[in-house]
């Protein structure tokens, strides 16, 4: 196979996964939120309504695409592109199995964060181009949130990079293989030194993906639909596909960094390797379920509280965690991996 064909095939696989994720996650969100609210969620289209999102996509395809008269037309058309492309590109470095990933990057972790951090530029673009006050407020909130939480998110995973000595996502997963004391998987989440890291990462990740309780940029009870208010038809569909896809990416990153990625403990290696992609996807979907559970449980926080939390708590804490990890690795190397 020519290199170009191989590349295109990889991209097509990631695009297919992204679309499938969108369809499954939207149905899952409606089902999970429904049951959390003591109702059923979608029921009519197919058993338990599993074809609901497919039908919604078909409906979106046949909807009129309205561009507001006041909008900045060029930016209005470019914004879905600016949201969608980085969202798709973020799949490139994810390690689904030992040999199953689109590209093998030494800085895969940094690359994925870089791709994700481009999304708010598109959101800001959409908010500005819509010429709507709701959209503009939503877009500005998204940008403010982004700049408050990009730093703690990047800092919080630094101790893991120090411990592994690599920012390659595959190497980070391999460093978590094996079990401790015969039963406890050597995942980083079970390492007492890295548990606070996970807390910082989880909060920053929720905010980075504009998830409730930090969904101020959408805030349907305050801002109609936030930055997406003026979008309709397929442009709206693509914007929201990217939003859902980003939740998948962040959940996959959490699985890779803290929950052993494709690794399945307590089974022979041959079984673990054979089931690797399934394990990875299942773990990721457990993470997505947690996101939806949080969404159904907590009220939204206020934006000033959110900004203060980021700059005054999470950044100092994550800096301190980096220092602690550095000192522990150099002074007491035995303590650095207690579970190991």
């Amino acid at each position: 196979m020519s290199p170009l064909a191989a590349s295109l095939l990889k991209v097509a696989a990631c695009l297919g996964l992204m679309l499938a994720n969108g369809v499954v996650m939207i149905w899952m969100l409606r089902k999970v939120l429904g049951h959390l609210h003591l109702r059923y969620g979608p029921l009519e289209a197919g058993p338990s309504g599993i074809f609901q999102t497919t039908m919604d996509v078909l409906k979106l395809l046949t909807k009129e695409d309205v561009t507001p008269n006041a909008a900045d037309r060029a930016l209005f058309y470019v914004a879905p592109l600016a949201v969608f492309v980085p969202s798709l590109a973020a799949y490139a470095a994810l390690p689904f199995a030992p040999e199953l990933r689109a590209v093998r990057l030494d800085a895969g972790l940094l690359y994925t964060f870089a791709a994700l951090s481009l999304v708010p530029i598109g959101i800001l673009m959409a908010g500005w181009a819509s010429a709507n006050k709701w959209s503009l407020i939503g877009g500005m909130r998204a940008a403010a949130q982004q700049i408050a939480y990009e730093v703690p998110l990047l800092l919080s995973v630094l101790p893991i990079v120090m411990l592994v000595g690599s920012a390659d996502l595959g190497r980070i997963v391999e460093a978590q293989s094996g079990v401790w004391a015969g039963f406890l998987p050597r995942w980083f989440i079970f390492d007492p030194l890295l548990l606070p890291t996970f807390v910082v990462f989880a909060v920053a990740a929720l905010i980075e993906t504009n998830q409730t309780p930090f969904d101020m940029s959408e805030a349907e009870s305050e801002l109609v639909a936030g930055w997406a208010t003026e979008y309709s038809a397929m442009k709206f569909g693509l914007l929201f596909l990217s939003e859902f896809s980003n939740q998948f990416i962040i959940s996959a990153l959490a699985v890779t960094l803290f929950f052993g990625g494709w690794l399945l403990p307590w089974v022979p290696e041959s079984v673990s390797v054979a089931l690797a992609p399934v394990t990875f996807l299942l773990k990721t979907y457990v993470g997505i379920f947690m996101l939806m559970w949080i969404r159904g449980t907590y009220p939204r926080v206020r934006i000033d509280t959110l900004m203060q939390l980021g700059w005054k708590r999470l950044i100092p804490i994550s800096l301190a965690l980096v220092v602690v990890m550095g000192v522990v690795i150099k002074a007491l190397p035995a303590l650095a991996r207690v579970v190991g």
Partner: protein, 121 residues
């Protein structure tokens, strides 16, 4: 057969395919969808009320200060990554050097905090 050149080709393919997918989908939707624009449909949506004043309002300076701080801290965080990757391979001295770097970073944060740049007004 993983080579850096091939990986970069794949990354470029991600951008190109993504950039083609969006217009194609929107085009397909425009083929199927009706198109009946009118003045009311194209009006800015403000919950049924006529918009008052320009939509592109000026935003307060608070956003600007945060953005400046963000640029500084984000770049310094990226500087920490190569250090973290090489951390195990190098001796204890790199830890001391980095403690200085982080101390300067922390001092900057403390100064911004003291000056009230971190408070949302």
């Amino acid at each position: 057969m993983h080579t850096a050149a091939l990986d970069h080709l794949t990354l470029a393919a991600f951008v190109v395919v993504g950039a083609l997918f969006v217009p194609l989908t929107v085009f397909a939707s425009n083929l199927l969808a009706p198109r009946k624009p009118d003045a009311r449909k194209g009006a800015t949506y403000e919950c049924g009320v006529e918009p008052v004043g320009p939509p592109w309002v000026q935003f307060r300076i608070g956003y600007y200060v945060y953005a400046l701080l963000f640029v500084v801290f984000d770049i310094e965080t990226v500087f920490l990554y190569p250090w973290a990757v090489a951390f195990n391979a190098l001796g204890a001295f790199v830890l001391i050097e980095m403690l200085f770097f982080i101390a300067i970073l922390a001092f900057g944060l403390w100064y911004a905090w003291k000056e009230g740049a971190l408070s949302w007004r």
